[in-house]
Amino acid sequence: MRNIKFAATYFIQMSKKSWILAESEVRKLLHDPTELVTRAIQPILWLGIFGEALSKVRAIPTGDYSYMQFITPGILTQSVVFIAIFYGLNIIWERDMGLLQKLLVTPTPRLSLVLGKMGSAGIRGLAQAVIVFLFALVLGVPLILTPQSIFWVVIIVLLGAGFFTGLSMIIASIVKTRERFMGIGQVITLPLFFASSAIYPITIMPLWLQYVAYLNPLSYMVDALRSLLVSGSLANLSMDLAILAGVTIAVSVTSAYMYPKVVV
């Protein structure tokens, strides 16, 4: 009974503090929203130039759907992941500034500091989703945008942003300096992107790369978004969700344990 009470108190504290921290991140974004505009450029270039060019040559087999339909969920995933994967840099910067030390001395559960950052990345990811959807509509790409599909897209984007933010914080707590993090960030981001079904189907990859792609959580994010926005066949959605939720919980706990060490 005592344990249940303790767990309930911890859960309430953890949720409340995560919300407070994520909300303060939104305030920062509202004070200076230029970041949203600059971040919009990359997905627009991928869709407008890369996507349009590859649509013309019809080099990639995408089944019953156009290449633009195929690539739109992939580009959304890529832009969310690219935001999240550099959050580790943010905690190294906060450590260098002294902000992190001050937060760690407050009675805030470690997990809240992780979930606050994940929420912040999620909100930026959702802003990217709005931009990608609007641009896809401008280009005339047919997408399934119903209240139900949008609801699940929000969940998938939050989970995906959460997973890659947590992963990034774990890396930051190991490498500890901005310079090393930048190096590693560059090394892992593109392989994650290319070893997934974001811009081409897994079936056209060499066999060894297919195995890598199946181990890559990014593939499950793309698969879920593609089912929701393009095919409408939701047979794999629960598996995609379960995998994304599982890996996100795992990195959250690991990150909450590891990243306070970045201050030492």
Binding site: K28, H31, D96, M97, G98, K102, T106, P107, V263, V264
Partner: protein, 268 residues
């Protein structure tokens, strides 16, 4: 006597692989005192502070703050202390008011009371006119004062300040100290600060501890410490050199130097 002490440190030790950063130190800090912590770079000051504020677990020994163990009761200790790092710890992309409210909420001050608390602190620090300004537009002295405000938002019993006036000009430095001493007067807060400014430690503190190579070399009031050197008309800098054998202008590794210069640069 134990009741007089807010902070009690007993045989506290921190070992990093083969380096002993803090080597079994013991001392007490009385309620409401201003306590200065001196020592050359690498003497173990920061490591000691990090242990006392629960950021770092000791290898052995113990310490209590307000009767609470820093390891066993770390969550409760955090509610009783405030911390101002040497580095800049306010968020430049939020306003002064938002920075204070954020801290108040993280310290579990009820939502309806956060606004009043933030306003009270802005008034205390004479920063009301800058309430809605983004902190990145603040001067160095204003930033430091706001940081102190953030650390006292929950009215802690002890305030830990790591080199609070480094990088500030003399006018800003004086203003920061006026605020710190006013804090003690108004709320009875115990002040624990590390510094390299000898005249600051001499003029502001009730007690001084000088650390050297992980140990407390000497502890006492500034006058007692100066008298113990046996040097006629000694100042605290003489005492510092006497007890540590160090010259203030030397010491510090690449990382320390880079950090302190970054802070000075940011504070302008």
């Amino acid at each position: 006597m134990q009741d007089d002490n807010l902070i009690s440190v007993h045989a506290l030790k921190k070992q990093f692989s083969d380096v002993t950063a803090v080597d079994g130190i013991s001392f007490n800090v009385k309620h409401g005192n201003v306590f200065a912590f001196l020592g050359p770079n690498g003497a173990g000051k920061s490591t000691t502070i990090k242990m006392l504020i629960t950021l770092l677990a000791p290898t052995s020994g113990s310490a209590t703050i307000d009767g609470l163990d820093i390891v066993r009761d770390s969550a409760e200790v955090r509610r009783r202390i405030g911390y101002v790092p040497q580095l800049i710890s306010v968020d430049g992309t939020l306003t002064a008011y938002e920075n204070l409210v954020l801290m108040a909420r993280l310290y579990d001050i009820p939502a309806h009371a956060c606004d009043a608390r933030a306003k009270e602190i802005l008034s205390f620090l004479e920063l009301e006119d800058h309430r809605e300004s983004l902190v990145r537009t603040f001067s160095g002295g204003m930033i430091r004062r706001l940081e102190i405000g953030q650390a006292m938002v929950h009215r802690p019993k002890a305030l830990f300040l790591d080199e609070p006036t480094s990088g500030l000009d003399p006018v800003a430095r004086q203003h920061v100290w006026e605020n710190i001493l006013e804090l003690r007067k108004t709320y009875g807060t115990t002040i624990f600060f590390s510094t390299h400014q000898m005249e600051e430690a001499d003029g502001m503190s009730d007690e001084v501890a000088i650390m050297n190579m992980g140990k407390v070399a000497i502890i006492g009031s500034p006058d007692e410490i100066k008298a113990k050197t046996g040097i006629p008309d000694a100042n605290l800098e003489d005492a510092f050199i006497f007890f540590t054998g160090a010259n203030l202008k030397e010491g510090g590794n690449f990382r320390d130097t880079r950090r302190s210069r970054q802070v000075e640069h940011r504070l302008g």
